[in-house]
């Protein structure tokens, strides 16, 4: 199915040729080790791109570089044409590049609704004066918008539960909902379905596709190959910090060097 789509022309109106994210020679050293080594990565508007690779390949470092949590040793990151290489995390988010975290990084001691309200932080226009003199804690329009986002992520019945009391799958969905509340143009998902059963991961991947169809471009890191192959239109493979291969799921899964990286050189040569 994926091969058919990618074999011919890209579906009209879905993948435009406009570059949203572009890195050139992105490099990050930790001591003498190059965690990310001259990676050129591009994501076009409307794509779902997967970033895969064996453990320690530099995927998470890549995400941390893109979202401004660490600074690159060399190279540039451009988002929608602007250089964002030296921006701090909250400034990157303001441009519309929002990330989620591995595992369940949530505000555990807050309700699901409060978590999403924080995602709306950027778009809130309340000043300090209003904070001190208004009777309402949260403006009704922000609460309404947060409930919409929760509803979209399938969490409407859990709005007032503490995040830590939610089942694992719901916690992951909440993480995505918070990122969505920040209205991303490009959403970076770090292992959205890791540790989920088939049913749960299917649901999250369907959600990811819906998010894309509503106009948000997606770059995701994931170990669950079935989920990656079934959802992504293009895949970039990293190994030892370098880009090993790039292409459609079909190209990548038959690429000899990718198989070698995953199964080990010994096996491939044997």
């Amino acid at each position: 199915m994926v091969e058919e789509r990618r074999g011919g022309e890209p579906e009209p109106g879905r993948v435009s040729s406009r570059l949203l994210l572009e890195t050139q020679g992105l490099t990050r050293y930790f001591g003498g080790l190059a965690a990310v080594d001259h990676v050129d990565l591009t994501v076009s508007e409307g794509e779902i791109v997967g970033l895969i690779g064996p453990n320690g390949a530099g995927k998470t470092t890549c995400f941390n570089l893109l979202s401004g949590f660490i600074r690159p040793t060399a190279g540039t990151i451009r988002f929608d044409g602007d250089d964002i290489t030296r921006l701090r995390p909250h400034q990157v988010v303001r441009r519309g590049l929002v990330r989620t975290f591995q595992l369940t990084t949530l505000f555990q001691e807050m309700t699901a609704l409060e978590n999403v309200l924080l995602g709306l932080h950027l778009h809130s226009k309340k000043g300090l004066g209003q904070v001190l003199f208004s009777r309402r804690t949260y403006p009704p329009e922000e609460v309404a918008r947060s409930r919409e986002v929760l509803d979209f992520a399938g969490l409407s019945t859990h709005a007032d539960q503490l995040a830590r009391n939610l089942p694992h799958g719901h916690q992951r969905a909440l993480g995505i909902a918070m990122a969505l509340a920040a209205r991303p143009r490009l959403l970076l998902l770090d292992e959205p379905v890791t540790g989920m059963n088939l049913d749960e991961s299917g649901r999250v991947m369907a959600l990811v596709k819906t998010i894309r169809d509503r106009g948000t471009t997606i770059l995701l890191v994931e170990h669950n190959m079935k989920a990656v192959m079934g959802t992504c239109e293009r895949i970039v493979v990293l190994n030892f910090g370098q880009k090993l291969a790039e292409g459609t799921p079909a190209d990548v899964s038959t690429n000899a060097s990718v198989i070698e990286a995953y199964l080990g050189a010994g096996l491939a040569h044997a």
């Binding site: 979202s67 949590f69 701090r88 995390p89 909250h90 988010v93 303001r94 929002v98 990330r99 989620t100 975290f101 990084t105 949530l106 505000f107 555990q108 001691e109 807050m110 409060e114 309200l117 924080l118 995602g119 932080h121 950027l122 809130s124 309340k126 300090l128 904070v131 001190l132 804690t137 949260y138 918070m178 990122a179 509340a181 920040a182």
Partner: protein, 323 residues
């Protein structure tokens, strides 16, 4: 009765009792409770910074700055109390801003170490800068507080001033805590990387929490200066700073009422030991007991007791298997 109405009713009763205290208690109780009000302001003003995850073990330094500034403005320059209090608070906040800006990028124990060093530095400056502060001889003869030109000569009137100051500070801090600002502070304490990834400029929010805390510590210090009318540098040392922190931990960090409960409870209970070495021992033991048996602080005690009673009654109602 809904929970919020019950809380409001309880608050009104407490405030009414505090307002009536001077009519039933003697000078000793007036004096004691005025000091409790100061401790409550100090404890509550540390909370925003604590909820951002910043361990500030130097809060008394800002109280000291507020106290000396207000006292000297009033004594040497004849500035009226309202303005000298504001001056003390503003200077405490300004110094907080100066200290906080470079050091709030430090995390956990490193930030704590800066605050410890700072509290000792301020105490030493107050001891050594004799021409200004009279050093360890103490600064005496601080004018009594006045409102709109009327000097509050009696301890009772000064008690009411303290009560009003405390209530105003608590209302402001409570409002902030329940606002989006409070939510952002809490989010930074819970997971600062996630807060950043949602667009929160965590450095600015931490600095705001810290500076605000310093401002109110300055208010507490200014009131202290004009109420006690004698300032002595060692009073503002490391010991007071840790006490303020202990009020927060013993009272409980999970709720706005935590530091208030902690400050009231510990200030009253430690009264027999005040000024002696036993005070430190008492605080240490209470802190240890709290960490061991009530990690959530005193505010979680009613809930725990209710749970215990429920468990007992449930055990009594269910027939024993032997019967």
């Amino acid at each position: 009765m809904p929970r919020s109405a019950r809380t409001t009713a309880a608050l009104i009763v407490v405030v009414a009792l505090l307002a009536l205290l001077p009519f039933v208690g003697g000078d000793y109780y007036i004096y004691l409770f005025a000091l409790v009000f100061i401790n409550v302001i100090l404890a509550a003003s540390l909370r925003p910074s604590l909820s951002c995850g910043q361990l500030n073990i130097g809060h008394s330094a800002f109280m000291c700055i507020g106290a000396y500034t207000s006292a000297l403005l009033a004594k040497d320059l004849g500035v009226p109390f309202e303005l000298s209090l504001l001056g003390g608070a503003v200077l405490a906040a300004a110094v907080g801003l100066g200290i906080g800006y470079p050091s709030l990028r430090l995390r956990g124990v490193y930030f704590a170490m800066v605050t410890v060093a700072f509290v000792e530095a301020v105490r030493l400056i107050a001891s050594i800068w004799v021409p200004l502060t009279r050093g360890n001889a103490g600064l005496s003869g601080v004018p009594k507080p006045s409102i709109l030109g009327m000097t509050l000569t009696t301890k009772t009137s000064q008690y009411y001033l303290g009560l009003v100051l405390m209530l105003v500070v608590l209302v402001i801090l409570g409002k902030l805590e329940r606002s989006r600002l409070g939510l952002v502070w809490k989010s930074i304490g819970l997971a600062d990387n996630l807060a950043q990834s949602l667009g929160v400029n965590i450095a600015n929010y931490k600095l705001l929490a810290f500076t605000l805390g310093c401002f109110f510590a300055g208010v507490a210090g200014a009131f202290y200066a004009h109420f006690i009318r004698f300032l002595f540098p060692p009073e503002f040392g490391f010991l007071l700073a840790t006490n303020i922190l202990i009020y927060n931990f013993v009272g409980g960090r999970g709720h706005f009422a935590g530091p208030i409960v902690g400050a009231v409870f510990l200030s009253l209970l430690s009264e027999p030991f005040r000024g002696s070495a036993y005070e430190t021992i008492f605080y240490s033991i209470v802190m240890l007991l709290t960490i061991l048996f009530l990690p959530g602080g005193l505010i979680t005690l009613p809930g725990k007791l209710a749970g215990l009673r429920w468990w007992k009654s449930a055990a009594a109602e269910s027939p024993s298997p032997a019967a």
